[in-house]
């Protein structure tokens, strides 16, 4: 989440000028980063709600990704793009993580990022002067979707929806697999569960974008 690093003492202690400089630098760097898809930023916008920041799984039913990395890249990329379910598993991996803008290069970049050890904590941003990662993650969907304009807004709704879903939909009962119902039924269920869970309208809309994108 964006606010966490902003609160960290390391950043707070930096002078305003240094922060401004770092963001200035980020603006220069980002377009270049967008061409070679940024695996970390993509992971943190599209996959983190289910897989968690370290890949160990944020919600019951999602396995530790470390246990899957013995498969070859091509197979993993294929499973990310087309979705995947181990026979009998309680929840499926949604195609493209539910993000329609995700390309094969993006998937490859994320696998690369996972192999490089997503679980290791990111280097403190003060040390290398690089911008804190979450702002980059928030900005990333725009350049990633640059090939097809208009996808950006949808994919941020999607990422917010995935997070709201992960945060709220297993509070009372076991998490339902996004794949288990077609769009029209999710519409009905989310309207019903919005009342049960006490969600606001925007959260419910985002969750619906996520569920429709994931089934």
């Amino acid at each position: 989440m964006t606010r966490v690093p902003l609160r960290s003492p390391a950043i707070a202690s930096q002078s305003l000028r240094a922060v401004a400089a770092a963001f200035g630098l980020a603006l220069v760097i980002l377009p270049a980063g967008a061409i070679a898809a940024d695996g970390k930023a993509l992971y943190e916008s599209t996959c983190v709600a289910c897989h968690g920041p370290t890949g160990k799984g944020a919600i019951p039913g999602v396995p530790d990704l470390a246990t899957r990395l013995d498969k070859p890249d091509a197979e993993l990329v294929n499973n990310v793009l087309n979705g995947f379910q181990t026979p009998g598993s309680p929840m499926a991996m949604p195609a493209k993580g539910g993000n329609p803008a995700l390309t094969a290069e993006d998937a490859q970049a994320i696998i690369g990022y996972l192999r490089s050890g997503a679980g290791t904590p990111p280097p403190p941003s003060a040390a290398n002067g690089a911008p804190a990662s979450p702002p980059a993650a928030v900005l990333a969907p725009a350049p990633a979707g640059a090939t097809s304009a208009g996808v950006a807004a949808d994919s941020t709704a999607f990422a917010r929806g995935a997070q709201a879903w992960a945060d709220n939909c297993a509070r009372c009962h076991a998490m339902r697999d996004p794949k288990s119902l077609p769009d029209e039924q999710w519409q009905v269920v989310v309207t019903h569960m919005r009342l049960r869970a006490g969600l606001d309208g925007a959260q419910a809309d985002d969750i619906l974008v996520f569920l429709k994108g994931s089934n």
Binding site: P60, P63, L195, A202
Partner: protein
């Protein structure tokens, strides 16, 4: 906005957790079922909603006005509260209240419930020709739920219903129904297995609903809406019927 018969928005367990595919044990907590301390259903108007606040806080609310419970007699003097709503409001009195839940962060919810109103005893055949006075009806409840880690979930709830005294009545004394429970659950084995421990206590004007309970469970989750539950209840009471221990096996499936 909900109009008609609904699960009572007061308290947490019954409205949100009682379906057997959701409840982690094969039985409801002591005092949270029929004849217990928690209101179950009601008939009236309800307004529900939520708000995502700054800093990731969330607030949710449910407010209602309804017919309220029906007060009857059990035996000569014991008050009996029927906590299931009815569309005919026999006593002509309504109740109002609701619950507010606050999530300071995802995974932690604190809730508080309150109901106020009046009820009138319906003494049935025993009170032919007697006019019964109104009595105060009050409910208070608090609940907490905490997803302590990916594998560990903890929750608890306390709820109390009180009916006031009515000196000019056939059954002059009021009564209190009170129940609480705390529950911890631990998932393991690729999230398929779950062990559960629940401790609870129910107090009621009636002996058979006054007991302490420790319940242990082992569950296997076939699918998110289908689980097999083996539960063992140890009950402790002055009442022989309520004292009996039980082993329950339940296959629960939700849609």
């Amino acid at each position: 906005m909900v109009v008609g018969k609904f699960l009572s928005p007061v308290g947490y367990f019954f409205q949100n957790l009682h379906p057997s595919w959701i409840n982690k044990l094969a039985s409801v907590p002591a005092g949270f079922g029929h004849g217990g301390a928690a209101p179950l259903t009601d008939v009236g108007v309800q307004l529900r909603g939520g708000r995502a606040l700054a800093d990731g806080h969330q607030l949710n609310y449910a407010l209602y006005v309804a017919n309220g419970p029906r007060l009857g007699l059990e035996g000569m003097e014991g008050l009996d509260l029927d906590v299931e709503g009815s569309s005919t409001n026999r006593d002509g009195e309504r109740v109002w209240g609701g619950r507010v839940g606050w999530l300071p962060r995802p995974g932690l919810e604190l809730g508080a419930s309150l109901t106020r109103g009046d009820v009138v005893l319906d003494p049935g055949e025993m009170g032919i020709g007697m006019a019964e006075p109104t009595r105060a009806y009050r409910v208070e409840g608090v609940d907490v739920a905490w997803q302590a880690s990916r594998a560990v979930s903890l929750r608890g709830e306390w709820i109390r219903q009180r009916v006031g005294d009515a000196p000019m009545s056939l059954a002059p004394d009021g009564a209190t129904w009170r129940a609480w429970y705390v529950q911890g659950a631990y998932r393991f084995g690729a999230d398929r297995w779950e062990t559960v421990l629940r401790v609870g206590d129910s107090l009621s004007p009636h002996g058979e609903s006054t007991f302490q309970q420790t319940a242990l469970g082992l569950n296997y989750l076939f699918r998110p809406g289908t689980q097999l539950k083996l539960s063992w209840e140890i009950n402790d009471s002055d009442n022989a019927e309520a004292e009996a221990d039980r082993v329950l096996l339940q296959l629960a499936h939700g849609f």
